[in-house]
Amino acid sequence: MLDTSANTGSPTDSVIHQLITATGTRVPDEVLAPFAAGVDNEQLLKLYQDMVVIRRIDFEATALQRQGQLALWPPMLGQEAAQIGSVRALVAEDFIFPTYRENGVAYCRGANLTGIMSTWRGSANTGWDPHEINMATPQIIIGAQTLHATGYAMGLTMEGKESLAIAYLGDGATSQGDVHEAMVFAASFQAPVIFFCQNNHWAISEPVGLQAHVPLAGRAPGYGIPSLRVDGNDVLAVLAATQWAAARARSGGGPSFIEAVTYRMGPHTTADDPTRYRETSELEEWRGKDPIARVRALLTNNGTLDAGAEAEVAAKADAVAAELRAGCIGMPDPEPMTLFDNVYTGEHAILDRQRDHYSRYLGGFAGAPAGNSSAEGKLS
């Protein structure tokens, strides 16, 4: 295992660890290298395919939102390496606590595409069973999930399990009290938890410099949590950093913090207009650091990604896109009476009365002429 004493992330340490440059060149990094040693070209090709596929998911979902099929979509464009590198470093038993933007992670975990879309269509709060794929539902309350991950990890310790929990969070979340409390608890109880922070530089309109005057990775050491700052657009560096943290967690080393430095190429959500608050020159600068282009260049140059392989990747992306579209467009609206489901695990006299009453109320419209019921129509 790596000696972490050199990586406790001085608050002013701005070194960004990297294994693949923006132009697709492999570079040495003594901190990360031991944790990327086992990744061969074929495995890198799989990571490439994952990134291409989730970018396609992102494009399709954005288009579906524009077409009115989704109520909202939080694009992950530009953050593919951060999502894929981290989730592919995990094993199935590891439990993931994501934010609302980790839809690529959810896909890799085996969440059903239609299920993922159901949340953004407004049809369901949850598109998968957290216990089935070991992944909690998308967290909208900024930072709340870091506490959940810490508690889950404390539970792993109590049960003597060699597993871990990982909390995804963003740069904005590092300002929330919950995140700081999570780091306090994680350190106090040496919980096997990874705080995986995607610094995508923007919390809606607020630049990361408003949240912190030091690299975000510098926050964790103050709590006694070792941290690493990596190029979040370098899938191999992210994978290695996550392996580093996972190895620490599995061997009783306690919590770790990773800052994956990336960039939100799209809007915060499809409801946002980033032209109001950021310069296009910044976007152009980051376009030159694209996470997919650099791996394509590397794999093309070393002969792994030939025309046949590229066609296979494209075919996979096409198939996923088709499945996503069909599932989304064909999704039935939820039945009205499901409103009352799952508020409690069992009976509740007051709610049961409201359910009965509403059922009866809706039934009163059954005989009414079509279009005469605003209960089935638009809100007034």
Binding site: L72, S175, E206, L339, R360, G364
Partner: protein, 336 residues
């Protein structure tokens, strides 16, 4: 008179308050450069500077908690909580500090905070973006709570809230943000209706329909629909939720004898429960029927595809009117 949307009216109210008092400062997430996710604070950072229109880090507890410190120092902070469902990290500061400091300090420390909260549903949003948490704050002694239903009230109530030496929760009906109305920007605040005053927005004689915020417009639609059936509904806009101005309600119910209260928030211990109890105490001898509540159900806010079923609409309000009048309704045959 100017014709403004509700957001423009709030923007104008903030602008006026900042012009009038250099101690008024705004704090919130994305309120500066972006102008707020609903553009309510559009242009204010440009005109007043980033020292008075403060884009804060993402921490609601800190937004409220630092506003408490600013108030200690003599400022008059106006906090924006981006969405209703995001207020809870700040709840502790509001309930434990903001609400109690005046009494705790024997009246020596005032907390003239205004906490603006876009609230309510009907805009097709994901979880935590459509809630109606007002009852928590009405239940908390030491806070004043208001909600505007139209641009003129938004402008006036906001200026009054900022001028108030008590902390005020200012609930903005986000699904009415784009509704337009005439606003008298130069009206003398001293001559405006008191911040706590309820208002009869449509006169009637058969049933009193009480609401606030986003459902005032729906209640007016319901009153018009009822009129087609020959039923005269009086609609009252509470405007203030704490304190509730019972005078106009009592006066109305003494004439109509029938009371319906409607809000988006859940039924149990919502405003409707308090109003029904208080009105029963105050007007028992005038009531011809039990007060009726038409509210959101006692459920967490549902996915947006289902929200039209959760939110009281015109038909559910009319069903409530029928119940109050003893006409055939959805409960006929169920209630003993």
């Amino acid at each position: 008179m100017s014709t403004l949307t509700l957001t423009q009216a709030i923007n104008a109210g903030l602008r006026r308050a900042m012009d009038d008092d250099p101690k008024v400062v705004l704090l919130g997430e994305d309120i500066g450069t972006l102008g707020g996710v609903f553009r309510v604070t559009d242009g204010l950072m440009k005109d007043f500077g980033s020292h008075r229109v403060i884009d804060t880090p993402l921490a609601e507890s800190a937004i409220i908690g630092t506003a408490v410190g600013l108030a200690y120092k003599g400022f008059r902070p106006v906090c924006e909580i981006q969405f209703d469902g995001f207020i809870y990290p700040g709840f502790d500061q509001i309930v434990s500090q903001v609400a109690k400091l005046h009494m705790r300090t024997h009246g020596q420390v005032r907390m003239p905070l205004t906490i603006r909260v876009p609230f309510g549903g009907g805009i097709g949003s994901p979880e935590h973006h459509s809630e109606s948490p007002e009852a928590y704050f009405v239940h908390t002694s030491g806070l004043r709570v208001v909600s505007a239903s139209n641009p003129q009230d938004a402008y006036t109530l906001l200026r009054q809230a900022i001028a108030s030496d008590d902390p005020v929760l200012f609930f903005e009906p986000k699904r009415r943000y784009h509704s337009k109305g005439d606003v008298d920007l130069d009206a003398d605040l001293a001559l405006a209706p008191a911040m706590g005053a309820a208002r009869v927005v449509s006169s009637g004689t058969d049933v009193t329909l009480v609401t606030y915020g986003p459902l005032v417009a729906t209640a007016l639609d319901a009153a018009r629909a009822a009129a087609d059936d020959g039923i005269s509904v009086e609609v009252i806009d509470l405007r203030s939720l704490s304190p509730i101005d019972y005078g106009p309600l009592e006066e109305s119910v003494r004439r109509t004898g029938r009371l319906v209260i409607t809000h988006e928030a859940s039924e149990t211990l919502g405003l409707g429960a308090e109003i029904a109890a208080a009105m029963t105490e105050r007007c028992f001898n005038y009531l011809e029927a039990a007060p009726v509540r038409i509210t959101g159900f006692d459920i967490p806010y549902p996915p947006s595809k289902l929200e039209k079923h959760h939110l009281p609409d015109l038909d559910r309000m009319l069903d409530g009117v029928d119940r109050a009048l003893g006409r055939p309704n959805s409960l006929t045959g169920l209630e003993g």
